[in-house]
């Protein structure tokens, strides 16, 4: 089994065993609570990070109010006085502790219920990271195809140029080679070309972390083909805030009409969103004080489309052209939006 350890399952098995011991009484609650309070003292809640279950568990542990205040003292008389005071007011402290404890339990219970609702929502609309774990991959951009378009679109741009999602960083390397101060972000950690700066980040997470006006240009790809429409409209708004005056946004995307054809069934079926049409991106970006144009579209090469025989009736040739538009829509496009 050594090389086929399912790490996630292993951790789940350990958690299941912990639950079993608690429920069976094998792990007495008082015994565990005392040790876990010691753990909490050396692991303050801010150190737990963003693990929802752990933070709620810590809140549940903290909901217990110990009404017996310590009475030790280096001076015997003070300790004696403390014990007398504790005995005198213990009924009142218990009364207050019961109310505080009840309130804390109710709040943590409410947070647990809210967590379950969020879990249920994420079952219906999984976040991108979970979809990737299930097998859906990010789009792989053909940097060689789009590189010249992007370089031309960025002419005159100063400041940092971000490409997200940048995959293996090939386009970032190309832009850096063309003299731009380029870096990339991609949610999947992978080896980038030597000397290429790539962050492991979701596109929107990274954009939200940037100060306003921090970018000279923003190149969007990958995420624009798989995020839900709500996230894409948000991305257009964020792009408007993060790209400086005189800056440029370039959207590289598959055309929705040809999108499914080029994807594996797993990718297509597990995608939480679909690409937008070029005109929609232009509309979204223009609403953010950009001036957009569709810079290029790549269609299926002529040799692969329906061809009318030489000398064919013009009506027949026109019908072939119409059929080609229906059967072979543009595969992908670039929208270039300049900040007004």
């Amino acid at each position: 089994m050594t090389d086929v350890i399912d790490h996630r399952r292993l951790l789940e098995e350990i958690d299941a065993e912990v639950r079993r011991r608690r429920e069976s009484g094998d792990l007495p609650a008082d015994f565990e609570r005392e040790l876990d309070l010691a753990f909490a003292r050396f692991a303050p809640v801010h150190a737990i990070g963003d693990d929802f279950d752990q933070v709620v568990e810590r809140a549940e542990q903290s909901a217990f109010v110990d009404v017996l205040a310590p009475t030790q003292s280096a001076q015997p008389l003070v300790g004696h006085v403390k014990r007398i005071i504790r005995k005198a007011i213990i009924w009142e402290v218990r009364y207050v502790a019961q109310q505080v404890g009840g309130f804390s339990v109710a709040i943590t219970r409410a947070v647990r219920l809210l967590g379950r609702r969020v879990d249920a929502l994420e079952e219906v609309a999984p976040p991108p990271a979970r979809l990737r774990a299930a097998g859906a991959t990010t789009a792989s951009l053909d940097a060689g195809r789009w590189g010249p378009t992007v370089v031309a679109a960025l002419e005159g741009v100063t400041g940092r140029v971000l490409h997200t999602e940048c995959g293996d960083g090939a386009l970032v390397a190309l832009l850096a080679g063309a003299g731009f101060d380029a870096y990339g972000a991609d949610p999947v950690e992978q080896a980038a070309p030597a000397g290429v700066e790539v962050r492991t980040d979701e596109a929107l997470d990274h954009l939200n972390a940037l100060p306003d006006g921090a970018l000279g240009a923003l190149v969007l790809s990958g995420c624009v083909e798989r995020l839900p429409a709500g996230a894409l409209t948000r991305m257009a708004v964020v792009a408007g805030a993060k790209v400086a005056e005189g800056g440029v946004v370039v959207v590289l995307s598959a055309d929705p009409r040809g999108w499914e054809r080029g994807r594996s069934p797993v990718d297509a079926d597990l995608a939480s969103g679909r690409p937008l049409r070029a005109e929609t991106w232009a509309h979204l970006l223009d609403a953010q004080q950009f001036r957009s144009e569709v810079a290029a579209e790549f269609a299926v090469p002529d040799g692969e489309t329906l061809q009318a025989v030489p000398g064919a009736d013009p009506v027949l040739a026109a019908n072939f052209a119409l059929l080609n538009q229906l059967l072979f829509p543009p595969a992908s496009y670039a929208v270039v939006a300049s900040r007004r």
Partner: protein, 395 residues
């Protein structure tokens, strides 16, 4: 290419995490790339007081020119009390209190800063974020500065004065993705050129017999190992307590070895062995014989010993509250985590009771180290990053 490192203390006797990391990198820029590297530092040896243990002056240490300057002040006796009051609510500390906090903490060394500003290095690398030379030196050096923060989520990081320190960096070198996200969350550095890099390890064969001599264990006796300062703040007291509870419920030959300088000695227990500081041969001997390596600390910026454990072929068990070590475990699948006693108990049972699981986890950890934390991999990435930072600073 000429690089100057600014660190609060430096030398082969300095084994602290950040300073040790700076020395490892500085020496390899010389030995692997042939770069011109100097270190600007104080004469301090003790990180708690900044008491001076080195003479001022210049010395060559493994190809690195070390220039030590006398400090104007070390750690002020009133620092701890003042720090306690300020760090109760660090976000709301006034600018004056922040400045006073950094001055009292020390080491205050204007000569180091002057040497950094006036020097001809292409880049000045500050390491770590927390101390006076970095706080005062970074803004003075400007875009030639590169910061290795070595930060974790601790109260001082939330002092407002560090916002300007991080913002002044021409480049940032992080040890983990968690550290990078933390910095981006707290400071406006998302567009600052940066890299997540970590540190490499140099494995040694180790001396198993010497290790047994130090611990008093027999050949094949099973034990869990914790390396580093034996300090309640590092979680060793908690680990000893958890282990004692575990042994009450699981009698047997399993021992816990705590190997490192002792700041807080845990209560005596027949199955807990505290060795004190150990040399490299004993350290690697212990690592190679351990059933599992335990990192109980909730506050680690990187944890080089975790990387060493995987290099030695040992699985790890880490504190779930520590961002850095849990990130290593999540990315490598080379160990387990505990977020309380119950998880600790079940994890130790699994690790000590299943040799195949131990070797499988250790192999995953070893592969992770091979991909990310060998010196050729690290120095190659570091070179690319520094060259771009230097070009940017020059342009």
């Amino acid at each position: 290419m000429k690089v100057a490192y600014v660190v609060p203390r430096y030398g082969t006797e300095v084994l602290g995490g950040a300073e040790y990391g700076a020395r490892m990198l500085a020496e390899r820029l010389v030995s692997m790339l042939g770069w011109d590297v100097e270190v600007l530092t104080t004469c301090a040896l003790d990180a708690r007081t900044w008491a001076e243990g080195y003479p001022a002056g210049e010395v060559d240490l493994n190809g690195v020119l070390v220039r030590r300057f006398r400090s104007a002040a070390g750690r002020d006796p009133g620092f701890e009390a003042f720090s306690d009051s300020v760090l109760r609510s660090p976000e709301s500390a006034s600018p004056a209190d922040g400045q006073r906090w950094i001055d009292l903490q020390g080491p205050v060394n204007p000569e180091v800063i002057a040497a950094a500003v006036e020097g001809d290095a292409d880049l000045v690398v500050f390491y770590p974020y927390l101390y006076h030379p970095t706080v005062r030196g970074m803004p003075a050096v400007g875009r030639r500065s590169v910061l290795h923060p070595a930060a974790h989520d601790e109260p001082p990081l939330r002092l407002p004065l560090f916002r300007d320190v991080f913002a002044a960096a021409g480049g940032l070198v992080f040890q983990t993705h968690g550290e990078r996200r933390l910095a981006e969350h707290l400071f406006p550095v998302a567009t600052t050129p940066q890299i997540v890099m970590g540190l490499g390890v140099e494995p040694a064969a180790g001396d198993a017999a010497a290790a047994r001599g130090v611990t008093g264990l027999g050949e094949g006796d099973p034990f869990l190992l914790c390396l580093g300062r034996v300090d309640d703040g590092k979680g060793t007291g908690l680990l000893a307590r958890f282990f004692a509870a575990y042994k009450d419920r699981h009698p047997g030959p399993l021992k816990l070895i705590l190997a490192g300088p002792v700041a807080d000695r845990p209560p005596q227990h027949r199955d807990v062995v505290v060795t004190g500081p150990v040399d490299e041969a004993v350290k690697w001997g212990l690592l190679r014989e351990a059933q599992a390596f335990v990192s109980p600390s909730p506050f680690e910026a990187f944890s080089i010993v975790l990387i060493e454990a995987w290099t030695a072929g040992v699985p790890v068990l880490v504190n779930a509250a520590c961002l850095a070590t849990t990130e290593h475990v999540r990315r490598s699948a080379g160990g387990l985590v505990f977020g309380g006693y119950a998880q600790f108990e079940v994890a130790v049972e699994r690790l000590t009771g299943d040799a195949a699981l131990r070797s499988g986890l250790a192999r995953r950890g070893g592969a992770y180290v091979g991909r990310n934390f060998t010196w050729p991999v690290i120095i190659d990435r570091y070179r690319g990053f520094l060259e771009r930072a230097a070009a940017r600073a020059a342009g």
